[in-house]
């Protein structure tokens, strides 16, 4: 996205190869502070690989990543640097069942993050902040001291969000964070995310295949296909008037009443996607 003033996250010419396979090629985007960007794509598009490079789980083959004005293209040197990066970017994963330690009660899981990022805080200070965070994501005190197994999928995802927010990050990466939730629960979590951004001024990067969720949560979007960005723009412009062939196909694949399945199928056959073999995503 050119001409983003005050970018909090800026990615330039990102490339990632696994052996001979190019998973990500020439990916550049920027998000303004307090903004919200969606990276849209299907499996094999490279969207998750981009997210992993931003969080530092994967090292870029080429290109640069800057968050809060500091370069993070190379691995962090030492614990202090890692913690600093943790206060810049946090991530909430798709599956709330596997991203929490099953033996750790909610309040201890959040306290653990505070101990890491706020070593100067006293125990009562941290406890007060835990209560605040638990309330902020809409959980009650009982749920705040429960083990993950006593919580539903939606409640666990709230815990994962509270835990990410404990580090007070500038950027929150939402990697399909609402995709596995039941529809009625998904609506609650989407509303929560919208409220949190308004309240905290936090920046979102949403990784998603769900165009309706993208519309609900983001102001700008990049569409990825086979490792590269094929379209970018304001979310409403891209969804209302998609320019690239692939974006059009994606848009036409969303089920609506009166869906002309025969037409959808014909369109898909004309331009059948060839899936690149990427080891991730």
């Amino acid at each position: 996205m050119p001409d983003v003033s005050d970018p909090v996250l800026e990615v330039v010419g990102l490339r990632k190869t696994f052996g001979d396979v190019v998973a990500v090629e020439e990916v550049s985007f920027a998000v303004r502070r307090g903004g919200s960007l969606a990276i849209v794509g299907e499996s094999g598009s490279g969207k998750t690989t981009v997210a992993k490079m931003v969080t530092g789980q994967e090292r870029p083959t080429a290109g640069t990543i800057r968050a809060c004005g500091r370069d993070r293209s190379a691995p962090a040197r030492g614990g202090a640097e890692r913690r600093l990066r943790g206060r810049e970017v946090q991530i909430v994963f798709q599956d709330p069942y596997s991203s929490l330690d099953p033996r750790q009660p909610v309040d201890r899981a959040i306290d653990e993050v505070l101990r890491l990022h706020r070593p100067d805080w006293s125990a009562p200070q941290r406890a007060e902040r835990v209560v605040e965070l638990v309330g902020m994501v809409g959980l009650d005190d009982r749920q705040g001291s429960a083990l993950p197994r006593a919580l539903s999928g939606g409640q666990r995802q709230r815990v994962a969000i509270a835990r990410a927010l404990a580090a007070e990050p500038e950027v929150l990466i939402l990697d399909e964070s609402v995709a596995a939730l039941d529809v009625s629960i998904q609506a609650q979590v989407l509303n929560l995310l919208i409220d949190l951004r308004e309240r905290l001024g936090i920046t979102y990067v949403l990784i998603s295949h769900d165009l309706a969720v993208v519309r609900q949560l983001t102001e700008t979007v990049v569409v990825m296909h086979r490792g590269t960005i094929v379209e970018r723009g304001r979310t409403e412009d891209v969804l209302d008037a998609p320019q690239h062939d692939y974006t059009r196909r994606l848009r036409a694949s969303v089920p609506t009443p009166g869906w002309d399945l025969a037409a959808v199928r014909r369109a898909l056959h004309e331009t059948r996607p060839v899936r690149p073999l990427t080891p991730s995503c």
Partner: protein
């Protein structure tokens, strides 16, 4: 292809089901009634724990040990519950299941051709070479032109969408009349989902196949099914023509499901139902299961279990159906 006036192919009547949970029988399905006509696509929509998958299992006779069943399931006029032996095998050939994640239901070390032709070879005594030829024919029908090559491949060599098409082709080999599609596209990409749904629709019109389509996605059901039944906590709360159910719901839960989904063409604050979906195991027996989350709740809602009230060519399980009719709004068209 719709013949709603003729006798339905599948008729589920007041199906009730208790499962053994920790040594005690607990009710998971109550008073589930619906039918699927020849060539009709019916959607069964619900969130986790609503009982939609258990309904499919009851229809396919795949219930866990100790299950207690009430009511009846009839296929082509015959009682399904009493089938055994050869009759059950031939029923299963006529009623095929397509599952959500083909990789869970497939033996990873057997080649595609081997599992595709197994039923033909073992149950129908078709010779291997003939069975292979029929498999290639079916693969072509589901849009896989190079069937010969695919038969020699292993499941891990195929993408999710391709493997799901292989699964559909293999169910077609026994010439089924009813397809039980249990979230067949949930694990797939959006464009692949559209392709699989297009394929199922094509099979329905070409072969007169009936489809019971199980999904959590009301929009998807409305887009591809003639009629849709919405399940909540082990009961059907509304069953109607899909378009009506989507645009002008009669049950507050159906309306809530519609309002909870973000829209593609505009942004508006989502109307989120408070609380979480009740599982069938937790449902009260003396009142409406949705009452605790319903914005229209009245004292009568919790004093007796509501029954399905016929309305607008369908039925809704709500004591306030007359009072609320036309007020619940629908999902605006995207």
């Amino acid at each position: 292809m719709n013949h709603p006036e003729s006798a339905p192919l599948l008729e589920v009547d007041r199906l009730g089901l208790d499962l053994l949970v920790g040594g005690v029988h607990r009710s998971v399905l109550r008073d589930v009634s619906f039918s699927v006509a020849q060539g009709e696509a019916v959607g069964l929509v619900g969130e986790s724990g609503s009982g939609k998958s258990m309904t499919v299992r009851a229809i396919d006779r795949l219930l866990p040990a100790g299950a207690r069943q009430r009511g009846s399931i009839r296929f082509d006029g015959k009682d399904v519950v009493s089938l055994s032996g050869a009759a059950l095998r031939s029923y299963r050939a006529e009623v095929a299941v397509v599952f959500q994640d083909p990789r869970v239901h497939i033996n990873p070390v057997r080649r595609v051709g081997d599992f595709m032709t197994e039923v033909l070879r073992t149950n129908r005594s078709v010779r291997r070479r003939d069975a292979g030829a029929r498999a290639v024919e079916m693969l072509a029908k589901v849009g896989i032109p190079d069937g010969e090559r695919r038969l020699d491949q292993y499941p891990h060599e195929l993408s999710g969408g391709l493997l799901q098409r292989v699964m559909i082709a293999s169910t077609l080999l026994t010439a089924p009349r009813l397809l039980l599609a249990d979230e067949p596209t949930t694990a797939l990409d959006v464009t692949t989902q559209a392709e699989i749904m297009g394929l199922l629709d094509e099979l329905r019109s070409d072969l007169g196949l009936s489809i019971l389509f199980i999904t959590h996605d009301l929009d998807l059901a409305a887009a591809v099914c003639d009629r849709t039944a919405v399940m909540y906590a082990g009961e059907i709360v509304e069953v109607r023509e899909s378009r009506l159910l989507h645009d002008d719901p009669l049950h507050p839960y159906t309306a809530a499901l519609g309002a909870a989904r973000p829209l593609l063409d505009r942004t508006a604050r989502l109307v989120a139902v408070p609380g979480r979906p009740l599982s069938a195991l937790e449902a009260p027996t003396d009142g409406c299961a949705f009452a605790g989350r319903c914005p229209y709740v009245e004292p009568t809602c919790t004093s007796a279990a509501p029954v399905l009230v016929p309305a607008d060519g369908g039925a809704a399980r709500c004591v306030r159906v007359e009072a609320l009719r036309g007020t619940l709004g629908g999902v605006p068209h995207a």
